[in-house]
């Protein structure tokens, strides 16, 4: 086991896969010679050369169109969209082209590609560089959607995403890049579509994603210590495919569900999970389903304001306590 940062785990996964498969190529803006603005892909061009690891113009439609065209003709491209907010400038390629063409063509070709992107707030970058948009992706049929919370998952899930025969949107949470954790040595692949129970409890199930996972874990500690409430914490990890089995098992046992989302409130992934539970597990519920989210506003830039609106450990604790009352 090595200690890697979340950031380092990105290049560890890409290089692992590039060594195993010549068809894997990597492109993006400032990713090759310079190693990326978040330094997530340092060293890749040095190891794999400028043909496999390549800088592009500022042209996100071209980047993702190129990835799509390459995927349907035999390559396994990994493309970077620098900040996930920028998906908006190339959304057509993602949702109308990449996501639909396999279905429309009755399966004539597949799209084994990965789009990585730095997602979420907490870095005081302001409203155009801070959104959590994994729910945009979840809403689109034909996209797999993955968002890891730990360095080990970054490596394992990114490797699996590269091997996956379908398009995967891989959301790296900006605020986690600096975090460190144990990552298994040697080849490391973690199957997509499995949620992970990080802590078992009997009173309530807290479901989180990406940066909300460490916050949920912290909240669970406080709930236990200060309020005597025993919480299960589940890291969803993959929104599509969604591991309803793991979530449902836990909610059946605890009877209570709290989702913790970084995205603004309306139509977040937590709404989908809530609606699934309200439909299929209604009779097991012992109380309301509570969603903790960022309010339905763009993210403000000033540190004090940003901290006030992103879901905090305290806010999670309060909501769970309110529910348990």
């Amino acid at each position: 086991m090595a200690q890697l940062s979340y950031r380092e785990a990105v290049s560890a996964a890409i290089s692992q896969e590039m060594r195993l498969d010549d068809r894997v190529v990597f492109i993006g803006e400032d990713v090759a010679a310079a190693g990326g603005v978040f330094k997530t892909t340092e060293g890749l061009q040095a190891e794999f050369g400028p043909v496999r690891v390549r800088d592009t113009p500022i042209a996100e439609q071209a980047i993702l169109g190129a990835a799509m065209g390459a995927a349907m003709t035999g390559l396994r491209p990994v493309a970077e969209i620098m900040f996930s907010d920028f998906f908006a400038v190339c959304w057509d390629i993602v949702v109308n082209q990449i996501a639909k063409t396999r279905f429309m063509s009755a399966g004539q070709c597949s799209f084994p590609l990965v789009i990585r992107s730095a997602n979420g707030g907490g870095a005081r970058f302001g409203a155009q560089h801070s959104q959590s948009v994994e729910n945009w992706a979840m809403a689109v049929p034909g996209l797999k959607v993955v968002a890891p919370s730990s360095p080990a998952d970054v490596k394992g899930l990114l490797a699996a995403s590269i091997r996956d025969p379908d398009p995967v949107l891989f959301f790296e949470q900006k605020s986690l890049y600096g975090t460190k954790g144990e990552v298994p040595d040697g080849e490391c692949v973690e199957p997509l579509g499995k949620a992970k129970v990080l802590r078992e409890g009997s009173d309530v199930t807290i479901v989180g994603l990406a940066a909300m996972v460490p916050k949920a874990l912290k909240a669970a500690e406080i709930l236990q210590d200060k309020h005597g409430i025993s919480a299960t914490v589940i890291d969803v990890r993959s929104l599509v495919p969604l591991d309803t089995t793991t979530i449902f098992e836990s909610v059946s046992a605890t009877g209570r569900l709290v989702t913790v989302e970084e995205n603004p409130r309306l139509c977040g992934w937590g709404a989908e999970v809530s609606s699934l539970v309200a439909e299929e597990l209604f009779w097991d519920l012992e109380g309301p389903i509570v969603r903790v989210t960022t309010p339905h506003i763009p993210l403000p830039s000033a540190d004090a304001l940003e901290d006030a609106v992103l879901p905090s450990v305290d806010r999670i604790v309060e909501n769970v306590v309110r529910l348990a009352d």
Binding site: A59, A62, G65
Partner: protein, 308 residues
């Protein structure tokens, strides 16, 4: 080979009853179809029936798709605007303006990376030159020196609006080539031999590592933009003048002058007509797609499952 092309041309003229026809523009598809290698890639738009057919896709499959039948190229899941036949190198018809242009660049990049010698050819209209994806694709293809040939079929109109009303330059393709370090190329798209020669040159250049080209071919659609459109916004004179330049009778005349006999051409006409009749009959008798295919093939495992 000329006959093959004539054959293609005639054939096109007989595909009817659909959404976005390219009647009047047949020489472009015919000329390019002939110039391409069988493993080259075609990317086209909703107005792509001809471009798909000339790559070798089955006529029954095309007509069946237009009719929403099981025998359709895409089993009815795609429709008229999305014809695709990967086994023939027809890599899809895309219905969002400009979207296929970067995808074609991607296929060309893949060919370059695999050193396969394949070339991607991408067709689009005059109106498409004003959207962002056009610009991003051309610059990207030029910088990476990709083996892709971009073909602007200038038929003078976007949907109902004359292209001159919405475009800052006279020739929407040719006048922009220099913005990507490319040579301006502007040709008569109703002259099938010229199209063929131009296509050959651009494809050869791409195959030899010479990078992309942007060609503007001038042509005209005889009908309206789509089934719903009678095309009334066009001056009568203009329509008349272009009908007189219909590439199909023009080419027939040329073939006659070159010594091909009337009866040979009539025979080809008849054969094509028979083939179309047969394809139409087969498509008509094909059933609607089984309903359960609506849930298939979203993912590579054949399913559309999004949960455990």
């Amino acid at each position: 080979m000329m006959e093959q092309r004539a054959y293609d041309l005639f054939m096109q003229n007989l595909v009817k009853g659909t959404s976005h026809l390219a009647l009047g523009q047949e020489a472009v598809a015919a000329g390019f179809g002939e110039a391409m290698r069988s493993d080259d890639y075609t990317f086209c738009t909703y107005r792509g029936h001809n471009h798909t057919l000339v790559r070798g896709a089955s006529m029954t499959g095309i007509l069946g798709e237009l009719m929403g039948r099981e025998c359709g190229l895409l089993n009815g899941k795609g429709g008229s605007m999305h014809l695709m036949s990967v086994e023939h190198g027809a890599m899809g018809s895309y219905a969002i303006i400009g979207a296929h242009m970067p995808i074609a660049a991607g296929a060309a990049w893949s060919a370059q990376y695999r050193e396969s010698g394949q070339v991607a050819v991408c067709f689009f209209g005059d109106g498409t030159t004003n959207i962002g994806a056009f610009h991003e694709s051309l610059n990207f293809a030029a910088v990476w020196s990709l083996p892709v040939v971009y073909v602007c079929e200038n038929n003078l109109y976007m949907e109902y609006t004359p292209i001159g009303d919405v475009t800052a330059v006279k020739n929407p393709g040719a006048d922009r080539a220099s913005a990507y370090g490319l040579e301006p190329i502007l040709i008569d798209g109703n002259d099938v031999d010229l199209v063929y020669a131009t296509a050959q040159a651009a494809i050869a250049k791409a195959r030899d590592g010479g990078g992309p080209s942007l060609l503007e071919v001038q042509t005209y659609r005889h009908g309206g933009h789509s089934r719903a459109d009678p095309g009334k916004y066009r001056p009568d004179e203009e329509v008349k003048a272009w009908l007189a330049r219909d590439p199909i009778p023009a080419y027939r005349k040329q073939l006659l002058a070159a010594g091909v006999s009337d009866s040979t051409l009539d025979t080809i006409d008849q054969e094509v007509s028979d083939r179309v009749d047969a394809a139409e009959a087969t498509a008509r008798s094909s059933s609607p797609p089984p309903l359960d295919i609506a849930d298939t093939d979203l993912w590579a495992d054949g399913t559309s499952t999004w949960r455990t």
